[in-house]
Chain length 656, copies 2
Amino acid sequence: MTQLKTANAKHTFQRVIIEHLAPEIDGGVFPIKRVPQEQVAVMADIYTEGHDSVNAVLLYRKLGEKAWKKLPMTSLGNDRWRADFVITEQSDHEYCIEAWVNHFETWQKDFKKRIEAGQDVTVDILIGINYLKHIVEQEKGKEVERIKSLLEEIQKASNSNQKQTLLLSAQLLSLTQATPDTASYVCYDKVLKVQVNSPKALLSSWYEFFPRSFGKNGKHGTFKDCEAILPEIARMGFDVIYLPPIHPIGTTHRKGKNNARVGGPNDPGSPWAIGGQGGGHKAIDARLGTMDDFHRFIKKANSLGLEVSIDIAYQCSPDHPYVKEHPEWFYQRPDGTIQYAENPPKKYEDVYPVNFYCSNSFELWQELKSIVDFWIDQGITIFRVDNPHTKPFAFWQWMIGETHKNHPEVVFLAEAFTRPNIMKQLGKVGFHQSYTYFTWRVSKAELIEYMTELTQTESREYFRPNFWPNTPDILPYHLQTGGRPAFISRLILAATLSSNYGLYGPAYELCVNTPVAGKEEYFDSEKYEIKQWNWNEPQNLKDIMTRINRIRKRNPALQTTWNVKFCDVNNDNLIAYYKKTDDSKNIILVIVNLDSANTQAGTVKLPLGQWGFAYDQSYKVVDLLTSDEYSWQGEWNFVELNPYKMPAHIFSVQQA
Amino acid sequence: MTQLKTANAKHTFQRVIIEHLAPEIDGGVFPIKRVPQEQVAVMADIYTEGHDSVNAVLLYRKLGEKAWKKLPMTSLGNDRWRADFVITEQSDHEYCIEAWVNHFETWQKDFKKRIEAGQDVTVDILIGINYLKHIVEQEKGKEVERIKSLLEEIQKASNSNQKQTLLLSAQLLSLTQATPDTASYVCYDKVLKVQVNSPKALLSSWYEFFPRSFGKNGKHGTFKDCEAILPEIARMGFDVIYLPPIHPIGTTHRKGKNNARVGGPNDPGSPWAIGGQGGGHKAIDARLGTMDDFHRFIKKANSLGLEVSIDIAYQCSPDHPYVKEHPEWFYQRPDGTIQYAENPPKKYEDVYPVNFYCSNSFELWQELKSIVDFWIDQGITIFRVDNPHTKPFAFWQWMIGETHKNHPEVVFLAEAFTRPNIMKQLGKVGFHQSYTYFTWRVSKAELIEYMTELTQTESREYFRPNFWPNTPDILPYHLQTGGRPAFISRLILAATLSSNYGLYGPAYELCVNTPVAGKEEYFDSEKYEIKQWNWNEPQNLKDIMTRINRIRKRNPALQTTWNVKFCDVNNDNLIAYYKKTDDSKNIILVIVNLDSANTQAGTVKLPLGQWGFAYDQSYKVVDLLTSDEYSWQGEWNFVELNPYKMPAHIFSVQQA
């Protein structure tokens, strides 16, 4: 069998090509991200010259394990191969591909053709036997033992017909497919990583609020006050509460109402002007309470199924202890002052940015990381990070990477509404969730294009969207003008397009929509003043929010972002999409009227084939928002949505 | 200026990201390919965190040169940068990108905004000066010297207004842009290669013929006989003549007419059954003449502007000297025979494939390479390689790579009509030209899709198409049924879509179209018998071939494949496309009727904007095939093509 020997020490080379492996981020420099129960679909072009058969195997294992799990890959045609594995536990994984030429398989394929053509196969039988002998002599493993005994059976067979039948057996083929051919064996040149995060990284409903606005009788709110509102937030179905910075606020250059450059004596200051007499990033604003109060608050939240997320804003007020202790951590100006934050010509005199490139940056970075460590010790596992795009990527990669090693449960959300490459890079270097452009994607074409980019391109592997219809910084134009219908439709879009979503309340559920003239900013912003919210004003959206969050909880189809598919509708004001579980047991069809002022109607085309529905049978759609039921039939169905009643359907689609 | 210092030995990191560099083939494993005068457009995403300005430079040089040439890259928006360089000589090149943060540029950008906003800039002037001081202290080079003197001028300036004007100067900015900032300097992590080939690799017109069919009075033709037909081939405008194997042909299992398994005593044999009494791959079939005759033939061809290409077919007839000398180079069967070529159930008993994986493969590979070396020594610089897809990629990479080192002028054409990945891989590992699926792309949609794949995807960097409407192996169905109009239209498509094209003549110019029933093969194929061609039969296409090749020679727009663009036509039987030079001085518009049986008419939309034509002015189109002239105006123009007259227009478009 000289044709099988390549083992010339002077002269070896790679025979099987494995290329265009996906997913692989930047040549394997960055891991892909998953949460438990998610699948990794691995594909590659795998082939050799000529018409020889190739076998390919996907290898995967938990990081640190010795043994690889192995899955045979399947040919998709055109030399593309695929195998999928499911992450079953919250541990990082790695994967690779191995492949080789299966000479016996090539031989068997040809052998069948020879027999079909009625050729004399006497010598071919001997060749087939030789291939098996070669395997038995060269390779090892329990499959080889079974090949050995089948080989003996073939050799003992009394006639050529019997030998032929045995040689053609599918069992024999599959045994050889499980036995790599040493001579042509090749392994992909990189082992690729899967970072596995907490389930919360993929599925979360965020409720942001300012604790200081929940005091009694106009007083500065405390964590104790806030304990009282937690049951209501839990009842609405949110599972993450996110608090703007809870640290002492500086008094120097403290801003007044509506971002006035000079505040009055009673102005509470912006929570992002961190640090004062009471301490810095590891302290709590005394007006909110004590560390004990905060611990009790966290405990209460947790008992209601809520996780508490705090804000990591690496910047300091002029009164922050760091400014005195480490002036070198800030930008020194030639006049001896420290540079405050600016976006020329805008000035933020109440905030000093940190200089990540300072002369003792090593100490600075360690200190900044210790802030996160400190809050993890207090029971925080979710961090919303302010303006990460203005800090070095290398810092995040190091800080989040180190944190992941010791606390794989921790989730970081990047607040970065900036250039697409920068947002993606923050995802690559470690952020588990990211704010997105959803806030400004309004038309049907924009929404479809953006969802396609998020779910169908490589960024899907490392960039997890979190959809926010508003934030304390952003009151988008469509909410300013669209009234309550716009607040409802944007909420439904956020909560059903993305499995991670959040909103800044109670401004959202009360449909607050007065802007600073001409800007996408709130007038009388809560960032600079204490509010008194009456949650039960008549326009409140609490009921609809509760229903939407309940729908998300009850329908696994809505618990991922990656499965969204759009449907044709013959009206550009109506957007329709569905999400379904792999087994099609849960199918959710969402249709939203994007026109907040007018009733819109149209016919929607449903992918019955994708759902496994017969084209001639009726099926049931149940609107989970209204409990209305309809019996539909065929691909095209009529819908009509009056935004003042309800701007959307969220249908559960059920085979009749 | 602490903010500029990152030089903490314990703590350095990459600040500027350079990613998604293109062109880059498989992480730089394979070079891109160019010929002299072609451009390399290099693009990458380049950015840093925040809003700091980044400068990027493309570096390139001839392989072996020490100094890099440098070109500033231009921002295309969205963090994408680009710079182009032109290959000016036939030497391999390499390229890379460097980038850094330009703190002065960031400062100047902000400074302008401050001034526009009427802010006090006293301290900002000092900061700008400090940035310049830092450059002068830290960096080197003639630009730094000029920055130094400008800095002195600024410092001497008597008032703040003067300083301001000097600091805002574009000259100062551009000097800083030419001075990399050492602290943030980063270089792309790979140096990428450009393999530069002979101009023939991009532009060639091939004429394939069997020399033995040009004997006098039915006798076996000789090189001497063929010298007589060279002027006619040259007159038709071809520049490469390609000869099927010219070596001794085996007699054992020699095939008869129409691939009959047993040939008669007078059958000449298939030229691909290489090797016999007279020698192997380095010998010449005595019936064709002597080596001296061949040398004379080459000389005659060269004197007419023709290059001679021979066929490299690594396979042997049973009578090849290798079979006796090196039986281990072939596949041994258990019955002691050597395995002949097969594609079960088809058998090619007159040919033994070579076993590239044999026990002494090192010696075999050396010997196979020596065949190429031998023919290079005889004056051959173009090789058409038979069935390369059945031989190891590693062999081609080594063999073509070694040949390229010593003979960069040599061109290898891959005859591989196989799976797309395999064809592409052959291009990656070294082949300079490749046969394509053009032979089977017939409809307008198929042609547009295929041209888009060839010219607009990454394969454009390493896979150079060569379009063949027929070969001795392939008489496609559309030529069997389409008559003379089909032969003309396919010729025009091949010669104008691709700058490399070829045909198997005289079967082509005589419109020979009798197939083996039901197959895409020639009946009475010249592969198995000697033909007597009468070039001057009335249906001959010599005149149209001559015109087409002359059009290709005179119009630089047709001398590349990469510039093709398609135009809308409101008739699916008409395909329209144009090619133009970068300066738009040469614009060729081709419109082909793909229906060989009927006149087709339609209106074609011309990209006047792309051509720099006014929409309201008339322009001239001259049909280079017929010399007919038309005056056109506006975007949409009517065309009508009668396939029996001429199935295509090849217009030269000229501004009036």
